[in-house]
Protein backbone atom coordinates (compact mmCIF):
# COMPACT_ATOMS: atom_id res chain seq x y z
CA UNK A 1 0.00 0.00 0.00
CA UNK A 2 2.91 2.28 0.76
CA UNK A 3 4.13 2.00 -2.80
CA UNK A 4 0.65 2.68 -4.09
CA UNK A 5 0.49 5.95 -2.18
CA UNK A 6 3.84 6.85 -3.65
CA UNK A 7 2.64 6.04 -7.11
CA UNK A 8 -0.51 8.08 -6.69
CA UNK A 9 1.59 11.04 -5.66
CA UNK A 10 3.75 10.61 -8.75
CA UNK A 11 0.64 10.29 -10.90
CA UNK A 12 -0.79 13.56 -9.60
CA UNK A 13 2.51 15.30 -10.16
CA UNK A 14 2.50 13.90 -13.66
CA UNK A 15 -0.99 15.19 -14.29
CA UNK A 16 0.03 18.65 -13.13
CA UNK A 17 3.04 18.64 -15.38
CA UNK A 18 0.95 17.52 -18.31
CA UNK A 19 -1.61 20.21 -17.70
CA UNK A 20 1.21 22.75 -17.71
CA UNK A 21 2.48 21.27 -20.93
CA UNK A 22 -0.93 21.53 -22.54
CA UNK A 23 -1.06 25.25 -21.87
CA UNK A 24 2.04 25.93 -23.89
CA UNK A 25 1.68 26.11 -27.66
CA UNK A 26 2.31 22.89 -29.52
CA UNK A 27 5.81 22.49 -30.90
CA UNK A 28 6.17 24.11 -34.30
CA UNK A 29 5.41 23.25 -36.92
CA UNK A 30 2.19 21.83 -35.53
CA UNK A 31 1.21 19.08 -37.89
CA UNK A 32 -0.30 15.68 -38.10
CA UNK A 33 2.63 14.22 -39.99
CA UNK A 34 1.70 10.61 -39.63
CA UNK A 35 -1.88 11.13 -40.86
CA UNK A 36 -0.60 12.62 -44.06
CA UNK A 37 2.05 9.94 -44.17
CA UNK A 38 -0.48 7.16 -44.53
CA UNK A 39 -1.73 8.50 -47.85
CA UNK A 40 1.70 9.30 -49.29
CA UNK A 41 3.47 7.00 -51.73
CA UNK A 42 6.48 5.24 -50.23
CA UNK A 43 8.94 6.96 -52.57
CA UNK A 44 8.10 10.43 -51.26
CA UNK A 45 9.40 11.15 -47.78
CA UNK A 46 6.55 11.53 -45.31
CA UNK A 47 6.31 14.60 -43.06
CA UNK A 48 7.30 12.38 -40.14
CA UNK A 49 10.34 11.20 -42.08
CA UNK A 50 11.36 14.76 -42.93
CA UNK A 51 10.89 15.88 -39.35
CA UNK A 52 13.04 12.98 -38.17
CA UNK A 53 15.80 13.91 -40.64
CA UNK A 54 15.64 17.53 -39.44
CA UNK A 55 16.13 16.47 -35.83
CA UNK A 56 19.49 15.03 -36.91
CA UNK A 57 20.66 18.64 -37.37
CA UNK A 58 19.21 19.80 -34.04
CA UNK A 59 21.90 18.10 -31.95
CA UNK A 60 24.25 20.94 -32.97
CA UNK A 61 21.89 23.55 -34.40
CA UNK A 62 19.32 23.63 -31.62
CA UNK A 63 16.00 22.04 -30.79
CA UNK A 64 13.45 23.59 -33.15
CA UNK A 65 16.42 25.01 -35.06
CA UNK A 66 17.23 27.67 -32.47
CA UNK A 67 20.83 27.16 -31.46
CA UNK A 68 22.73 27.95 -28.30
CA UNK A 69 25.74 30.27 -28.64
CA UNK A 70 28.56 28.86 -30.71
CA UNK A 71 26.51 27.38 -33.55
CA UNK A 72 24.28 28.94 -36.22
CA UNK A 73 20.49 28.62 -35.92
CA UNK A 74 18.53 27.09 -38.80
CA UNK A 75 14.96 28.07 -37.85
CA UNK A 76 13.38 30.44 -40.33
CA UNK A 77 16.32 30.23 -42.70
CA UNK A 78 15.46 30.87 -46.33
CA UNK A 79 14.94 27.49 -47.98
CA UNK A 80 16.87 28.26 -51.14
CA UNK A 81 19.80 29.73 -49.20
CA UNK A 82 19.86 26.67 -47.00
CA UNK A 83 19.87 24.31 -49.99
CA UNK A 84 22.58 26.32 -51.74
CA UNK A 85 24.81 26.35 -48.66
CA UNK A 86 24.46 22.62 -48.17
CA UNK A 87 25.16 21.93 -51.84
CA UNK A 88 28.23 24.20 -51.63
CA UNK A 89 29.40 22.25 -48.59
CA UNK A 90 28.91 19.03 -50.56
CA UNK A 91 30.99 20.22 -53.49
CA UNK A 92 33.58 21.86 -51.25
CA UNK A 93 33.11 25.27 -52.83
CA UNK A 94 32.16 26.68 -49.43
CA UNK A 95 34.97 26.36 -46.85
CA UNK A 96 34.11 24.31 -43.79
CA UNK A 97 35.65 22.59 -40.83
CA UNK A 98 33.02 19.85 -40.59
CA UNK A 99 29.90 20.63 -42.62
CA UNK A 100 31.31 19.19 -45.84
CA UNK A 101 31.58 15.85 -44.02
CA UNK A 102 27.98 16.05 -42.83
CA UNK A 103 26.46 17.49 -46.04
CA UNK A 104 27.82 14.60 -48.09
CA UNK A 105 25.69 12.23 -46.04
CA UNK A 106 22.48 13.65 -47.54
CA UNK A 107 21.28 13.71 -51.14
CA UNK A 108 19.77 16.77 -52.82
CA UNK A 109 16.16 15.72 -52.21
CA UNK A 110 16.84 15.09 -48.54
CA UNK A 111 18.57 18.45 -48.21
CA UNK A 112 15.64 20.22 -49.91
CA UNK A 113 13.15 18.51 -47.59
CA UNK A 114 15.16 19.41 -44.48
CA UNK A 115 15.63 23.00 -45.69
CA UNK A 116 11.89 23.28 -46.22
CA UNK A 117 11.25 22.03 -42.68
CA UNK A 118 13.56 24.60 -41.07
CA UNK A 119 12.25 27.42 -43.27
CA UNK A 120 8.80 26.86 -41.74
CA UNK A 121 10.04 27.06 -38.14
CA UNK A 122 9.77 30.39 -36.31
CA UNK A 123 13.09 32.13 -35.75
Amino acid sequence: MKSLVKFMAIGLLGAGALAAQAQTPAAAPAAAPARIAAATPAATPTPAQIRLWATTCMTCHGSQGRAQPGMPSLAGMNRDDHIRQMMDFKTGSRPATIMHHIARGFNEEQIAAIAGYFAALPR
Binding site: F7, G14, A22, A37, A38, T46, T97, I102, G105, F106
Partner: protein, 428 residues
Protein backbone atom coordinates in the same frame (compact mmCIF):
# COMPACT_ATOMS: atom_id res chain seq x y z
CA UNK B 1 -2.61 -5.57 -1.62
CA UNK B 2 -2.28 -8.19 -4.33
CA UNK B 3 -0.21 -7.44 -7.39
CA UNK B 4 -3.17 -7.67 -9.78
CA UNK B 5 -5.19 -5.21 -7.74
CA UNK B 6 -2.19 -2.95 -7.59
CA UNK B 7 -1.78 -2.93 -11.35
CA UNK B 8 -5.45 -2.14 -11.79
CA UNK B 9 -5.18 0.74 -9.36
CA UNK B 10 -2.09 1.85 -11.18
CA UNK B 11 -4.06 1.98 -14.41
CA UNK B 12 -6.66 4.12 -12.69
CA UNK B 13 -3.92 6.46 -11.54
CA UNK B 14 -2.63 6.59 -15.09
CA UNK B 15 -6.08 7.55 -16.27
CA UNK B 16 -5.99 10.58 -13.99
CA UNK B 17 -2.91 11.72 -15.84
CA UNK B 18 -4.68 11.15 -19.13
CA UNK B 19 -7.67 13.23 -18.10
CA UNK B 20 -5.31 15.98 -17.03
CA UNK B 21 -3.74 15.91 -20.44
CA UNK B 22 -6.86 15.70 -22.55
CA UNK B 23 -8.67 18.47 -20.74
CA UNK B 24 -6.18 20.96 -22.07
CA UNK B 25 -5.49 19.40 -25.44
CA UNK B 26 -8.04 20.11 -28.12
CA UNK B 27 -6.58 17.77 -30.69
CA UNK B 28 -6.15 14.78 -28.40
CA UNK B 29 -8.02 11.55 -28.85
CA UNK B 30 -8.75 9.15 -26.05
CA UNK B 31 -6.90 6.24 -27.65
CA UNK B 32 -3.69 8.07 -28.32
CA UNK B 33 -3.85 9.98 -25.06
CA UNK B 34 -3.79 6.80 -23.04
CA UNK B 35 -0.39 5.71 -24.35
CA UNK B 36 2.40 5.66 -21.80
CA UNK B 37 6.12 5.42 -22.55
CA UNK B 38 8.59 4.66 -19.78
CA UNK B 39 12.20 5.64 -20.39
CA UNK B 40 14.87 4.10 -18.19
CA UNK B 41 18.09 6.07 -17.85
CA UNK B 42 18.45 9.82 -18.41
CA UNK B 43 21.80 10.00 -20.13
CA UNK B 44 22.16 11.35 -23.65
CA UNK B 45 20.01 8.58 -25.15
CA UNK B 46 17.22 8.33 -22.62
CA UNK B 47 16.74 12.03 -21.93
CA UNK B 48 16.59 12.78 -25.66
CA UNK B 49 14.11 9.96 -26.24
CA UNK B 50 11.89 11.23 -23.42
CA UNK B 51 11.87 14.81 -24.70
CA UNK B 52 11.32 13.88 -28.34
CA UNK B 53 8.56 11.40 -27.54
CA UNK B 54 6.70 14.36 -26.06
CA UNK B 55 7.56 16.60 -29.02
CA UNK B 56 6.77 14.08 -31.78
CA UNK B 57 3.44 13.16 -30.17
CA UNK B 58 2.56 16.86 -29.69
CA UNK B 59 2.24 16.08 -26.00
CA UNK B 60 -0.24 13.25 -26.49
CA UNK B 61 1.96 10.38 -25.29
CA UNK B 62 2.71 10.39 -21.57
CA UNK B 63 6.37 9.90 -20.71
CA UNK B 64 7.92 8.80 -17.42
CA UNK B 65 11.70 9.08 -17.19
CA UNK B 66 13.37 7.03 -14.47
CA UNK B 67 16.87 8.04 -13.37
CA UNK B 68 18.63 7.60 -10.02
CA UNK B 69 21.02 10.56 -10.34
CA UNK B 70 19.72 13.98 -9.29
CA UNK B 71 21.68 15.80 -12.00
CA UNK B 72 22.97 15.13 -15.50
CA UNK B 73 26.78 15.06 -15.64
CA UNK B 74 28.28 15.02 -19.12
CA UNK B 75 30.98 12.55 -20.09
CA UNK B 76 31.90 14.61 -23.17
CA UNK B 77 34.03 17.56 -22.02
CA UNK B 78 34.82 15.75 -18.74
CA UNK B 79 38.44 15.30 -19.86
CA UNK B 80 38.69 19.10 -19.63
CA UNK B 81 37.86 18.82 -15.94
CA UNK B 82 40.49 16.13 -15.47
CA UNK B 83 42.97 18.40 -17.27
CA UNK B 84 42.09 21.37 -15.01
CA UNK B 85 40.57 23.42 -17.86
CA UNK B 86 36.93 23.30 -16.68
CA UNK B 87 35.12 22.62 -13.42
CA UNK B 88 32.39 20.10 -12.62
CA UNK B 89 29.76 22.84 -12.72
CA UNK B 90 30.33 23.16 -16.45
CA UNK B 91 29.38 19.49 -16.96
CA UNK B 92 26.49 19.42 -14.52
CA UNK B 93 22.95 20.15 -15.69
CA UNK B 94 19.45 20.00 -14.27
CA UNK B 95 16.74 17.65 -15.48
CA UNK B 96 14.06 20.15 -14.49
CA UNK B 97 13.44 21.56 -17.97
CA UNK B 98 12.38 18.15 -19.27
CA UNK B 99 9.47 18.37 -16.84
CA UNK B 100 8.82 22.11 -17.03
CA UNK B 101 9.14 22.58 -20.78
CA UNK B 102 8.05 19.20 -22.07
CA UNK B 103 5.88 17.55 -19.45
CA UNK B 104 8.19 14.58 -18.95
CA UNK B 105 7.44 12.99 -15.57
CA UNK B 106 10.72 12.48 -13.71
CA UNK B 107 11.07 9.65 -11.22
CA UNK B 108 14.30 9.52 -9.22
CA UNK B 109 14.78 5.81 -8.77
CA UNK B 110 16.40 2.77 -10.39
CA UNK B 111 14.72 -0.01 -12.32
CA UNK B 112 15.54 -3.37 -10.81
CA UNK B 113 13.64 -5.58 -13.22
CA UNK B 114 11.49 -5.56 -16.34
CA UNK B 115 8.44 -7.78 -16.75
CA UNK B 116 8.16 -7.86 -20.54
CA UNK B 117 5.05 -10.04 -20.53
CA UNK B 118 3.07 -7.76 -18.24
CA UNK B 119 4.83 -4.63 -19.56
CA UNK B 120 5.85 -3.30 -16.19
CA UNK B 121 9.10 -2.18 -14.61
CA UNK B 122 9.87 -2.60 -10.93
CA UNK B 123 11.71 0.15 -9.09
CA UNK B 124 14.27 -0.17 -6.32
CA UNK B 125 11.89 1.91 -4.22
CA UNK B 126 9.38 -0.94 -4.46
CA UNK B 127 6.72 0.41 -6.82
CA UNK B 128 5.82 -0.88 -10.23
CA UNK B 129 5.06 1.16 -13.34
CA UNK B 130 3.25 -0.07 -16.43
CA UNK B 131 4.18 0.89 -19.98
CA UNK B 132 2.92 0.58 -23.52
CA UNK B 133 6.45 0.98 -24.90
CA UNK B 134 9.67 0.87 -22.89
CA UNK B 135 12.86 2.70 -23.90
CA UNK B 136 15.97 1.48 -22.09
CA UNK B 137 19.15 3.54 -22.22
CA UNK B 138 21.33 1.79 -19.64
CA UNK B 139 24.77 3.02 -20.71
CA UNK B 140 27.76 0.83 -20.00
CA UNK B 141 29.03 -1.11 -17.04
CA UNK B 142 32.46 -2.60 -16.52
CA UNK B 143 33.59 -6.21 -16.87
CA UNK B 144 35.40 -6.24 -13.55
CA UNK B 145 35.75 -10.02 -13.76
CA UNK B 146 38.55 -9.47 -16.28
CA UNK B 147 40.67 -7.70 -13.64
CA UNK B 148 40.53 -9.77 -10.42
CA UNK B 149 42.65 -7.24 -8.53
CA UNK B 150 39.93 -4.62 -8.98
CA UNK B 151 37.33 -6.60 -7.03
CA UNK B 152 37.58 -4.67 -3.75
CA UNK B 153 36.11 -1.29 -3.00
CA UNK B 154 39.58 -0.08 -1.99
CA UNK B 155 41.01 -0.99 -5.39
CA UNK B 156 38.16 0.78 -7.17
CA UNK B 157 38.72 3.88 -5.06
CA UNK B 158 42.43 3.96 -5.82
CA UNK B 159 42.69 2.90 -9.47
CA UNK B 160 40.05 5.07 -11.07
CA UNK B 161 38.32 4.73 -14.43
CA UNK B 162 36.65 8.17 -14.53
CA UNK B 163 34.79 6.78 -17.55
CA UNK B 164 31.38 7.70 -16.13
CA UNK B 165 31.44 11.40 -15.42
CA UNK B 166 30.87 12.25 -11.77
CA UNK B 167 32.78 11.68 -8.56
CA UNK B 168 35.57 9.81 -10.30
CA UNK B 169 36.16 12.68 -12.73
CA UNK B 170 37.04 14.98 -9.86
CA UNK B 171 38.87 12.23 -7.93
CA UNK B 172 41.18 11.58 -10.88
CA UNK B 173 41.91 15.29 -11.21
CA UNK B 174 42.80 15.37 -7.51
CA UNK B 175 45.15 12.41 -7.92
CA UNK B 176 46.93 14.29 -10.72
CA UNK B 177 47.07 17.47 -8.65
CA UNK B 178 48.50 15.57 -5.68
CA UNK B 179 51.07 13.72 -7.80
CA UNK B 180 54.65 15.00 -7.29
CA UNK B 181 56.39 16.47 -10.34
CA UNK B 182 58.33 13.75 -12.11
CA UNK B 183 55.60 11.17 -11.67
CA UNK B 184 54.00 9.02 -14.36
CA UNK B 185 50.30 8.89 -15.21
CA UNK B 186 49.35 5.71 -17.05
CA UNK B 187 46.06 4.91 -18.74
CA UNK B 188 45.14 1.58 -20.28
CA UNK B 189 42.70 1.26 -23.15
CA UNK B 190 40.59 -1.89 -23.43
CA UNK B 191 40.04 -3.76 -26.68
CA UNK B 192 37.29 -2.29 -28.84
CA UNK B 193 34.39 -1.80 -28.59
CA UNK B 194 34.36 0.62 -25.67
CA UNK B 195 32.59 3.90 -24.88
CA UNK B 196 34.00 6.97 -26.66
CA UNK B 197 36.75 5.68 -29.00
CA UNK B 198 38.82 8.92 -29.05
CA UNK B 199 38.31 9.62 -25.33
CA UNK B 200 41.42 7.94 -23.90
CA UNK B 201 43.72 9.65 -26.41
CA UNK B 202 42.09 13.02 -25.70
CA UNK B 203 42.55 12.41 -21.99
CA UNK B 204 46.23 11.60 -22.48
CA UNK B 205 46.69 14.90 -24.35
CA UNK B 206 44.90 16.96 -21.70
CA UNK B 207 46.80 15.34 -18.83
CA UNK B 208 50.04 16.01 -20.73
CA UNK B 209 48.87 19.60 -21.31
CA UNK B 210 48.32 19.96 -17.56
CA UNK B 211 51.70 18.40 -16.76
CA UNK B 212 53.52 20.76 -19.11
CA UNK B 213 52.13 23.71 -17.19
CA UNK B 214 52.08 22.36 -13.63
CA UNK B 215 54.50 19.41 -13.42
CA UNK B 216 56.90 19.66 -16.36
CA UNK B 217 59.03 16.63 -15.48
CA UNK B 218 56.05 14.28 -15.46
CA UNK B 219 55.10 11.72 -18.12
CA UNK B 220 52.01 10.09 -19.66
CA UNK B 221 52.04 6.50 -20.84
CA UNK B 222 49.17 4.99 -22.85
CA UNK B 223 48.88 1.21 -22.79
CA UNK B 224 46.52 0.30 -25.62
CA UNK B 225 45.17 -3.24 -25.89
CA UNK B 226 44.50 -2.50 -29.55
CA UNK B 227 47.14 -2.68 -32.26
CA UNK B 228 46.80 1.00 -33.09
CA UNK B 229 45.03 4.23 -32.15
CA UNK B 230 41.29 3.65 -32.55
CA UNK B 231 40.03 7.09 -33.58
CA UNK B 232 41.58 10.06 -35.44
CA UNK B 233 44.74 7.95 -35.72
CA UNK B 234 46.73 10.22 -38.00
CA UNK B 235 45.76 13.30 -36.00
CA UNK B 236 46.56 11.88 -32.58
CA UNK B 237 49.81 10.40 -33.87
CA UNK B 238 50.88 13.84 -35.06
CA UNK B 239 49.74 15.56 -31.85
CA UNK B 240 51.70 13.09 -29.74
CA UNK B 241 54.81 13.71 -31.86
CA UNK B 242 54.50 17.44 -32.42
CA UNK B 243 53.01 18.69 -29.16
CA UNK B 244 53.86 16.07 -26.55
CA UNK B 245 57.00 14.35 -27.85
CA UNK B 246 58.74 14.34 -24.49
CA UNK B 247 55.65 13.76 -22.39
CA UNK B 248 53.40 11.12 -24.01
CA UNK B 249 54.53 7.62 -24.78
CA UNK B 250 52.11 5.43 -26.74
CA UNK B 251 52.43 1.66 -26.44
CA UNK B 252 50.04 -0.36 -28.63
CA UNK B 253 49.32 -4.05 -28.14
CA UNK B 254 49.33 -3.88 -24.35
CA UNK B 255 46.39 -5.74 -22.87
CA UNK B 256 45.88 -5.08 -19.16
CA UNK B 257 45.41 -8.47 -17.51
CA UNK B 258 45.29 -7.52 -13.83
CA UNK B 259 46.20 -4.93 -11.25
CA UNK B 260 47.58 -4.88 -7.73
CA UNK B 261 45.95 -1.89 -6.15
CA UNK B 262 48.02 -1.71 -2.96
CA UNK B 263 51.16 -1.09 -5.05
CA UNK B 264 49.33 0.72 -7.88
CA UNK B 265 50.65 -1.96 -10.24
CA UNK B 266 49.28 -2.58 -13.75
CA UNK B 267 49.99 -6.01 -15.22
CA UNK B 268 50.04 -6.73 -18.92
CA UNK B 269 50.18 -9.74 -21.17
CA UNK B 270 53.43 -8.68 -22.79
CA UNK B 271 55.65 -7.03 -20.19
CA UNK B 272 56.51 -6.84 -16.51
CA UNK B 273 54.19 -4.95 -14.26
CA UNK B 274 54.25 -1.19 -14.32
CA UNK B 275 53.75 1.05 -11.27
CA UNK B 276 52.75 4.57 -12.24
CA UNK B 277 52.12 7.32 -9.71
CA UNK B 278 48.58 7.57 -11.05
CA UNK B 279 46.98 4.53 -12.68
CA UNK B 280 43.84 5.18 -14.74
CA UNK B 281 42.28 1.77 -15.31
CA UNK B 282 39.68 1.23 -18.02
CA UNK B 283 38.18 -2.25 -17.72
CA UNK B 284 36.50 -3.88 -20.71
CA UNK B 285 32.97 -2.61 -21.12
CA UNK B 286 29.52 -4.03 -21.82
CA UNK B 287 25.92 -2.90 -21.80
CA UNK B 288 24.67 -1.60 -18.46
CA UNK B 289 23.65 -4.08 -15.78
CA UNK B 290 19.91 -3.70 -16.37
CA UNK B 291 20.31 -4.79 -19.99
CA UNK B 292 21.96 -8.03 -18.89
CA UNK B 293 19.48 -8.65 -16.08
CA UNK B 294 16.56 -8.11 -18.44
CA UNK B 295 17.98 -10.45 -21.09
CA UNK B 296 18.39 -7.66 -23.63
CA UNK B 297 22.14 -8.18 -24.15
CA UNK B 298 21.78 -10.97 -26.71
CA UNK B 299 25.16 -10.39 -28.40
CA UNK B 300 27.64 -12.42 -26.31
CA UNK B 301 25.71 -11.40 -23.19
CA UNK B 302 27.48 -8.07 -23.71
CA UNK B 303 25.63 -5.80 -26.15
CA UNK B 304 21.99 -5.39 -27.18
CA UNK B 305 20.93 -6.04 -30.75
CA UNK B 306 18.28 -3.70 -32.13
CA UNK B 307 16.37 -2.99 -35.33
CA UNK B 308 17.85 0.31 -36.48
CA UNK B 309 14.57 1.61 -37.93
CA UNK B 310 12.98 1.56 -34.48
CA UNK B 311 15.73 0.67 -31.99
CA UNK B 312 13.39 -2.07 -30.78
CA UNK B 313 15.23 -5.00 -29.25
CA UNK B 314 15.44 -8.04 -31.51
CA UNK B 315 14.61 -10.25 -28.52
CA UNK B 316 12.04 -8.23 -26.55
CA UNK B 317 9.00 -6.76 -28.30
CA UNK B 318 7.88 -3.31 -27.10
CA UNK B 319 11.33 -2.67 -25.57
CA UNK B 320 13.68 -0.26 -27.36
CA UNK B 321 17.37 0.02 -26.44
CA UNK B 322 19.61 3.02 -27.10
CA UNK B 323 23.06 4.43 -26.74
CA UNK B 324 26.33 2.81 -25.79
CA UNK B 325 24.55 -0.40 -24.74
CA UNK B 326 23.65 -1.48 -28.26
CA UNK B 327 25.60 -3.55 -30.74
CA UNK B 328 26.46 -0.76 -33.14
CA UNK B 329 26.04 -0.94 -36.89
CA UNK B 330 29.27 -0.98 -38.97
CA UNK B 331 31.29 2.16 -38.21
CA UNK B 332 28.91 3.41 -35.50
CA UNK B 333 30.84 4.61 -32.44
CA UNK B 334 29.61 4.53 -28.86
CA UNK B 335 29.21 8.26 -28.42
CA UNK B 336 26.93 10.85 -26.84
CA UNK B 337 26.08 12.27 -30.25
CA UNK B 338 25.00 8.84 -31.48
CA UNK B 339 22.93 8.23 -28.34
CA UNK B 340 21.15 11.57 -28.87
CA UNK B 341 20.36 10.53 -32.43
CA UNK B 342 19.23 7.05 -31.35
CA UNK B 343 16.86 8.81 -28.95
CA UNK B 344 15.17 10.68 -31.79
CA UNK B 345 14.78 7.68 -34.12
CA UNK B 346 13.38 5.56 -31.29
CA UNK B 347 11.04 8.34 -30.16
CA UNK B 348 9.63 8.76 -33.67
CA UNK B 349 9.20 4.99 -34.03
CA UNK B 350 7.54 4.65 -30.64
CA UNK B 351 5.13 7.53 -31.27
CA UNK B 352 4.29 6.20 -34.74
CA UNK B 353 3.66 2.69 -33.42
CA UNK B 354 1.52 3.92 -30.53
CA UNK B 355 -0.54 6.13 -32.83
CA UNK B 356 -0.98 3.42 -35.47
CA UNK B 357 0.98 5.37 -38.08
CA UNK B 358 3.75 4.12 -40.38
CA UNK B 359 7.25 4.28 -38.94
CA UNK B 360 9.61 6.41 -41.09
CA UNK B 361 11.47 3.89 -43.20
CA UNK B 362 14.74 5.73 -43.86
CA UNK B 363 16.53 6.88 -40.72
CA UNK B 364 19.65 8.96 -41.36
CA UNK B 365 21.77 9.78 -38.34
CA UNK B 366 25.01 11.67 -37.97
CA UNK B 367 27.88 11.47 -35.53
CA UNK B 368 30.34 14.10 -34.39
CA UNK B 369 33.04 13.68 -31.75
CA UNK B 370 35.34 16.58 -30.92
CA UNK B 371 38.56 15.98 -29.03
CA UNK B 372 40.55 18.73 -27.35
CA UNK B 373 44.32 18.38 -27.51
CA UNK B 374 45.30 21.44 -25.41
CA UNK B 375 43.77 24.59 -23.87
CA UNK B 376 42.27 25.85 -27.11
CA UNK B 377 42.52 23.41 -30.00
CA UNK B 378 40.13 20.62 -30.90
CA UNK B 379 39.63 18.24 -33.82
CA UNK B 380 36.65 16.19 -34.95
CA UNK B 381 35.65 12.91 -36.46
CA UNK B 382 32.23 12.74 -38.09
CA UNK B 383 30.12 10.29 -40.04
CA UNK B 384 26.62 9.93 -41.48
CA UNK B 385 24.77 6.63 -41.28
CA UNK B 386 21.78 5.76 -43.47
CA UNK B 387 19.38 2.82 -43.37
CA UNK B 388 20.22 0.23 -45.99
CA UNK B 389 17.05 -1.66 -46.90
CA UNK B 390 18.91 -4.60 -48.40
CA UNK B 391 21.28 -5.22 -45.52
CA UNK B 392 18.74 -4.02 -42.95
CA UNK B 393 21.22 -1.96 -40.98
CA UNK B 394 22.63 1.56 -40.85
CA UNK B 395 25.65 1.99 -43.11
CA UNK B 396 27.93 4.98 -43.45
CA UNK B 397 26.99 7.02 -46.51
CA UNK B 398 29.82 6.71 -49.06
CA UNK B 399 31.80 9.95 -49.26
CA UNK B 400 30.41 11.33 -46.01
CA UNK B 401 32.28 11.92 -42.81
CA UNK B 402 35.92 12.49 -42.09
CA UNK B 403 38.33 14.13 -39.69
CA UNK B 404 39.82 17.58 -39.20
CA UNK B 405 42.84 18.58 -41.22
CA UNK B 406 44.56 19.44 -37.95
CA UNK B 407 43.50 20.46 -34.44
CA UNK B 408 42.71 24.18 -34.35
CA UNK B 409 41.20 26.92 -32.21
CA UNK B 410 38.14 27.41 -34.44
CA UNK B 411 37.15 23.81 -33.82
CA UNK B 412 37.89 24.33 -30.14
CA UNK B 413 35.23 27.04 -30.27
CA UNK B 414 32.86 24.73 -32.16
CA UNK B 415 33.53 21.90 -29.71
CA UNK B 416 32.22 23.99 -26.82
CA UNK B 417 29.32 25.14 -29.02
CA UNK B 418 28.59 21.50 -29.77
CA UNK B 419 28.52 20.77 -26.03
CA UNK B 420 26.16 23.64 -25.19
CA UNK B 421 23.87 22.62 -28.03
CA UNK B 422 23.71 18.90 -27.34
CA UNK B 423 23.04 19.65 -23.66
CA UNK B 424 20.17 21.93 -24.64
CA UNK B 425 18.84 19.49 -27.25
CA UNK B 426 18.98 16.57 -24.82
CA UNK B 427 17.76 18.29 -21.66
CA UNK B 428 15.98 21.50 -22.61
Amino acid sequence: MKRRQFVQTLSAASAIGTVGLLSGCATGTAGAGAAHVVVVGAGYGGATAAKYTRLFSEGKVRVTLIEPNPKFISCPISNLVIGSLKNMDFLTHSYDRLQQNHGVRLVRDSVTSIDAARRTVRLAGGSEIGYDRLIVSPGIDFMWEGLPGMASAEAKARMLHAWKAGEQTLALRRQLEAMPDGGVYAINIPAVPYRCPPGPYERACLVANYFRKAKPRSKVIIFDANAEIQSKRGLFTRVFEQQYKDIIEYRPGHLLTDVHAASNAMRFEVQDEFRPAVANVLPSMRAGDLALRAGLANINNRWCEVNFQTFESTVAPHIHVLGDAIQGSPGMPKSAHMANQHGKVSAMAVVSLLQGQPVPQLPIIANTCYSFVNDTDAMHVSSVHRWDAERRTLLTVPGSGGVSVAPNALEGHYALGWARNIWADTLG
